[in-house]
């Protein structure tokens, strides 16, 4: 199955600043998913990123706040912009493992604290 390297693993940021999270996959994948997981909550899908096209955002998430890049089939970044304490969360990237029948592989997550 695919292996995902996600970084940073954690960061503490000042409000009003931005943080870019990177995910590198060891194989080429068509789709990458970005999730947010708040303490004690489930995973909430932020957006789906296909290589070479604009990311598709879920309801409640906008490109200005969470811009995503997908320059090739093995890499993607998610930026959390103009951060506020409400953005404190764990952010996860995920890829489809070979096909949807095989499930999804996740990065180790980025624990973001905004102060």
């Amino acid at each position: 199955s695919a292996v995902i390297s996600q970084k940073p693993s954690r960061d503490i940021c000042q409000r009003g600043t931005s943080l870019t999270i990177q995910c590198q996959v060891d194989s080429q994948v068509t789709m990458m998913f970005w999730y947010r997981q708040q303490p004690g909550q489930s995973l909430t899908l932020i957006a789906t990123a296909n290589q070479g096209s604009e990311a598709t955002y879920e309801s409640g998430f906008v490109i200005d706040k969470f811009p995503i890049s997908r320059p090739n089939l093995t890499f993607s970044t998610l930026t959390v912009s103009n951060m506020s304490p409400e953005d404190s969360s764990i952010y996860l990237c995920s890829v489809e493992d070979r096909s949807r029948n095989y499930g999804y592989t996740f990065g180790s997550g980025t624990r973001l604290t905004v102060v």
């Binding site: 789709m31 909550q41 489930s42 899908l45 598709t56 995920s94 949807r100 499930g103 996740f106 997550g109």
Partner: protein, 112 residues
Amino acid sequence: AQRVTQPEKLLSVFKGAPVELKCNYSYSGSPELFWYVQYSRQRLQLLLRHISRESIKGFTADLNKGETSFHLKKPFAQEEDSAMYYCALAALGSGGSYIPTFGRGTSLIVHP
């Protein structure tokens, strides 16, 4: 829109007791269902998928389309099973790709 419901936020059992973590789904198409597990300080990982009808670490899950359920079961719980368990559904999105949706998770605690 698809929905995954895990009614129990917490399930606490003693070692050796049977375990059943409930999952119900709502989806008009043919579902692709999974169970994921997250052990303390580890990343989320796939436990099992309905299509393979496999048993992993003693856990099984049967898809019941009539009841729209995919409950996770183990006859004899072990302490190392203590973890967070998520039920997930991959459904066809508007863009023609399958998009996973997760339930809120059930924390399983197995006492010695």
